[in-house]
Symmetry: C2
Subunit: 405 residues, 2 copies
């Protein structure tokens, strides 16, 4: 994944430094500064054991008013500041204060993010030292450095950047994400930071954030273990020369929303493709479901089945495991005689058993690919949902068994 | 696990033979015959893709009347007769008919069970040949042979047998189970057959079956993949010299129920201990929950977390993974500041983070054991539930990736 063409976003400045929180000594401390007019929305992990920075970021977002927008993000990698109790909250607040003092804003105009090992206190002396260096480094062109500074066990940086035309006006979208396939949720785990210069109301931005997250970061799963630190922000700096997007019914809203969905889906899928130990990129499509809930229920049951995942690792078209996972997904009055299961374009299952047209050779050919689609047609309704996942390999066990040793 | 003292149960006869369904050529075909008075109750998989024999066994149990009890079980290993559509139902019916003809009963007085590979038709020629041989082999003393004949990838046979005293009367309980840690649900998977000579009504037997299954076979989990063929039967032959147990409030009921719970728990735990690839036997205890549902929600989330399981494999006291799993279990308004998590007797987590008394040495000492208890005290109510599981090892991936090759 190259960093060619990471377009700066007007009104966003990024600074990085090596705070030496990570043992490797590589850059691990990142600051994003926004112009006054910038509007920021965010989503956070649902984990009840959420980390101190998540708790504080949620609080600070609630304090936002028209005259008091979020002005900065501060992110460290190497330490998640999770499972750290009261000390963790104090440290997160202190981090925000240090940055606010540098930038001349209030501490609650800063959102903090941490990613790394759970259960160790933040090294505040290192953060105090790093802060002025990161601020001195602030520049609109530092997206590449920022995308690298937020990484933990990721093998590659994950970025997206595009300049689009919305009704004759030029709008830029640039973002980065981290997360090594969510196989290290105690390296707590998934972060996403997206910025655009679009002129858009807070309400419209929030609507787009909710739906885009739902169709991207909320549709990837490696092992079902959601982390204590997952968070994603979306900032619109209002600097583009365009009429404000203020209605969800406008053509501009629809164009911008589609572009943001593409951006978030790309950043989410790059996390799956970088899953350590992952040898396959697997799309689970559930079609003609009755509700979104049941579509996701089936898709996630198949995506998280260790038996399906080990079969994918072995490139084994073991359709019985897919069938059994669909069968146990808990969908009410599921009629197994009227559903179909496809591997790529190959029909695996119909009439409650192996399709008569199925051959092992055809299934094997699909399984030999790196990108694999499992399609389950429920024939119950009109809803379609897709989830992306990986296989389960020796390396998954190795990485997660040896992680702390 | 030795076969010493597998006490015969009056009114139960067992016969085995090698039908050559399994490639190994070992015994793979088992018949159990019951006296006329025997009462049989059973539970089956909830998987919507249940196998043909499960569908037929459920139908035949519905046809039971006082004058028309279940008279026999017929079990084959090596082929699950699952995902086999209409042909599968025809084959299961034909199997019951063949045995009914041999024993002089009706076909719907026979319950069929199959375990093995999914998606291949039963070799009916082999079953036809095997049937008279298995019947000729019927004897009250053949529990050992029966317990071996139902195995697939299991490393050891799993049996239980005890003679107990109920208010001065001697009652025998003997049973066997199979299932290689449920890590082979496409080897479809867990079966249990328990018999007793107790004199007991159908209603009382059903009550005990439901509660005992619920606290045993329904409390073990390896990878969350429930199979298409899971089934368990409990037969009471009424041959013991005792007053009939006909009230759930009687002392005899309580004694017999406790004995049956012990029997089923033992047979269930032996499946976990025989999980191929398993190096640990792990009890997840959730205490002071508000409801059974939330206790199981927490216990199963921890038990099925691949990150917790790989840490157990590595004997790594990685408490952050347990904390994160509890946090994402989805229990409503869970207060993470007032719960405790213990590893054995060692307090890991309190006040939302690592316990101040915790030391890595103390955690490591517990993790080095083979039998490990993770105890989560929710401090919300009075319910306690326990789930048993295993770790996740290289061998789990190896066995399941290479299974068909």
């Amino acid at each position: 994944m190259s960093h060619i063409n990471l377009h700066p976003v007007a009104g966003v400045y990024l600074g990085t430094t090596a705070a030496k929180i990570k043992k490797s000594g590589t850059e691990d401390f990142v600051v994003l500064q926004f112009v006054e007019e910038a509007i920021t929305v965010a989503t956070f992990t649902q984990n009840a054991f959420c980390a101190a920075p998540v708790t504080l970021a949620k609080q600070n977002l609630l304090a936002v008013t028209h005259q008091h927008n979020i002005r900065a993000l501060v992110i460290n990698s190497g330490n998640a500041n999770a499972g750290t109790g009261k000390q963790g909250m104090d440290d997160a607040m202190q981090t925000c204060s240090l940055l606010a003092d540098e930038l001349g804003c209030d501490a609650n105009q800063v959102l903090p993010f941490s990613t790394g090992v759970i259960g160790e206190n933040l090294p505040m002396d290192k953060i105090e030292m790093a802060m002025p260096m990161a601020v001195a480094n602030l520049a609109a062109t530092h997206w590449k450095e920022a995308s690298e500074g937020i990484l933990t066990t990721d093998l590659v940086a994950k970025t997206y950047s595009k300049v689009i035309d919305i009704e004759g006006h030029t709008v830029t979208l640039t973002g980065c994400s981290k997360g090594s396939g969510m196989i290290h949720p105690n390296m707590a785990t998934m972060l996403g930071f997206v910025a655009t210069d679009a002129k858009i109301t807070q309400a419209c931005l929030q609507t787009i954030m909710t739906s885009a997250i739902n169709q991207s970061f909320n549709r990837i799963t490696v092992d079902g273990d959601t982390s204590t630190n997952d968070a994603c922000t979306l900032t619109a700096t209002q600097q583009a020369d365009m009429p404000v997007i203020d209605s969800v019914d406008s053509a501009a809203f629809k164009q911008f929303s589609a572009a943001m969905h593409e951006c978030m889906t790309d950043l989410a899928q790059k996390i799956i493709r970088d899953g350590e130990g992952a040898t396959k990129f697997v799309s689970i499509e559930v079609e003609s479901a009755h509700t979104v809930e049941e579509a996701l229920q089936v898709a996630n049951t198949v995506a998280l089945s260790p038996l399906v995942k080990t079969a994918l690792f072995a490139s084994d078209p073991n359709w019985g495991r897919i069938l059994a996972a669909v069968g146990r997904s808990g969908v009410e009055s599921l009629n197994v005689d009227t559903l179909q299961i496809y591997l790529g374009d190959v029909l695996l299952v119909e009439n409650g058993g192996r399709a008569s047209s199925y051959t092992e050779e055809a299934g094997q050919a699909v399984m030999n690919e790196t990108d694999i689609t499992i399609r389950i047609v429920l024939n119950r309704g009109k809803v379609k949902e897709t989830v992306w996942t990986t296989d389960f390999s020796y390396d998954y066990v190795k990485i997660n068994a040896e992680y702390r040793s």
